[in-house]
Symmetry: C2
Subunit: 339 residues, 2 copies
DNA sequence: ATGAAAGCGCTAACAG
DNA sequence: CTGTTAGCGCTTTCAT
């Protein structure tokens, strides 16, 4: 028999008996001490202290029909993206007095279990990375009105659920205009991300918005596929340079590809060409010159996701799509002097 | 009333009724389908499928007096250390059919005592970073025989609990000997970490072991404080160089300080001086030359921690201290050619 | 192999 | 303000 089942901790009954009150009083103290008579509350508190009483969550959950737990469901637990997101979520969850349960789906591809690690059976709501699990679950849970928030990142066919995104398009447009207006660029090479990627698509659109706003032609030859990946970006840029493609700046869909581009520019002796990335990864700030980029508010995404989820749990209405603003950081590789 | 309390999902009773059996049978199916008559099992399974039945965890927990949940309690959710650790823990937890609850203590300095986010009330065991919470809790929980595993990292006065560490000392000794035997170094500068840091202390001891094993004198002037921090390390190295301190290699307690050292060597035109770090951080592999280092098995630490915790929960005996081996990666900045 | 029934520890009416 | 008393949904004897 597992050790965990041996231990015996005091229950609400023990406290009630010791304090000479009923269990209801103890329960009330737990949930709203203010409604008790001051003297009673004092006594109860003292007994709890003495007995080192801590209410069992399972019992509260069962009785109150909620778990005060939020689930985070994602495929991978890595990347520069995940950690700040988690930090934001954890902060907000704590603030609202919720716990955070984490599960990666990279394992349970095939564990056709009835008990998924995360779901309505063990949390009050879910923070979901689209693509991390079959849409079938999302649909079922949506049908059951189980509260969920999507962290928009990948693109996927999804039910209409509240989602958090960042202002990819607007920011990418701003970056484009910065290159045009501040640095006088007119032929901006764009390093696009993967086709199926939500952010990638929005950012590309923003680049095109920017060109249009500047009255510049949209030359499709200037749009290359960087795959959000340093190596691909390097290769594709090098080839473009060798083939004599004319351009006077590079805008990358993300910092990884921007780093690849930077490398290729350096190799070709073109370090003067303005370059801007997107995301604000750590490596970017350590490159020489530091990467000009757009800072994504990842931690805020995590916070807002939790705030909205909690909002739903409290019966509030939340917007179907929330976009968080990014912060331009156009210094270094774009040509602007560092502050 | 919260939306979460409105939903109504089928209970074990609904399934029992539909399947024409008793709730006990359903419970048995849940816990050990094999003991049912094949035909009964089939019917139960079908009904569950049809009703989309999923057992409520709170009820199971309350009844079975365990949660199948593990808690991870740490002060900060950041650093290159945390993510691989989390990955390892999540994998192992999933494998053993446990959930992982995460909580950072950076918030609850002052929050109400009762109902800590993590503890015996909501998990079966805890993975603890020493220093993340007052020893008082550890002691109480130990008294109550609540299963815990320590991730040894910081140094602290702690109860005798099973802990996971890495072979800091042995690896640091190996690195020292590599510098001596392969590169013929005789005056190795050591960049020590913070005083109170467990790993730092062990690694320093390993360096000293190495010197002793090589029959080299232990010159205390060669031990500098790098504080596991790039800037400090850079500053301290630069000063040493300017003051004319004689050394023919640098061994750093961690990669961050090694990177600082590398910078100072470069600044002084001393790039030929062999340099080895410790940890295997990402940045190290991107520096030029790539940092020679000792790869810490962080993900494995996470896995083993969970395995041991689960072991305790299953009534097994686990060692009080487990040391995981590191992997030498002596290429690049030590002078050995890259493979 | 299956059913009946007694909890697990707490919350939430309903009384008083 | 406080006590009484049903449950919450499952597990687990104890019978059959």
């Amino acid at each position: 028999m597992p050790a965990s089942q041996q231990r015996k901790t005091p229950t609400i009954r023990d406290v009630a008996r010791e304090a000479g009150v009923s269990v209801a009083t103890i329960s009330r103290f737990l949930n709203n001490p203010a409604i008790l008579q001051a003297e009673t509350a004092r006594r109860v508190e003292a007994v709890m202290e003495e007995l080192e009483y801590i209410p069992k969550l399972a019992a509260r959950n069962l009785s109150s029909r909620n778990t005060r737990t939020l689930g985070l469901i994602t495929e991978y637990l890595d990347g520069e993206f995940f950690l700040p997101l988690l930090t934001g979520m954890e902060s907000a969850a704590f603030e609202h007095n919720y716990s955070l349960l984490i599960s990666s789906t990279r394992h349970w591809k095939e564990s056709r279990q009835r008990m998924l690690p995360l779901g309505p059976h063990n949390c009050d709501g879910l923070l979901v990375f689209p693509g991390s699990l079959p849409a079938e679950y999302l649909e079922r849970w949506q049908r059951q009105e189980f509260p969920m928030i999507l962290i928009q990142h990948m693109l996927a066919e999804l039910p209409a659920l509240p989602r958090i995104t960042i202002e990819n398009r607007q920011s990418s447009r701003d970056a484009t205009l910065h290159l045009v207006q501040v640095h006088g660029c007119r032929r901006i090479l764009y390093l696009a991300g993967p086709e199926g990627h939500h952010d990638a698509r929005q950012r590309l659109a923003g680049y095109q918005d920017g060109l249009a706003a500047a009255g510049l032609p949209a030359d499709s030859q200037l749009i290359l596929s960087g795959q959000f990946n340093e190596e691909s970006a390097f290769a594709v840029c090098r080839q473009a340079i060798q083939q004599g493609l004319q351009f006077d700046a590079i805008l990358a869909g993300d910092d990884d590809s921007a780093l690849g581009a930077l490398e290729s520019l350096r190799a070709a002796g073109l370090e003067a060409v303005p370059l801007i990335g997107f995301d604000g990864i750590l490596l970017g700030q350590r490159s020489r010159p530091p990467l000009a980029t757009v800072l994504a508010p990842t931690e805020e995404v995590g916070e807002l996701a939790v705030q909205h989820l909690v909002g739903i749990l409290e019966g509030k209405q939340v917007p179907l799509e929330s976009q968080l603003p990014c912060t331009p950081h156009f210094f270094g590789s774009c040509g602007c002097p560092l502050p």
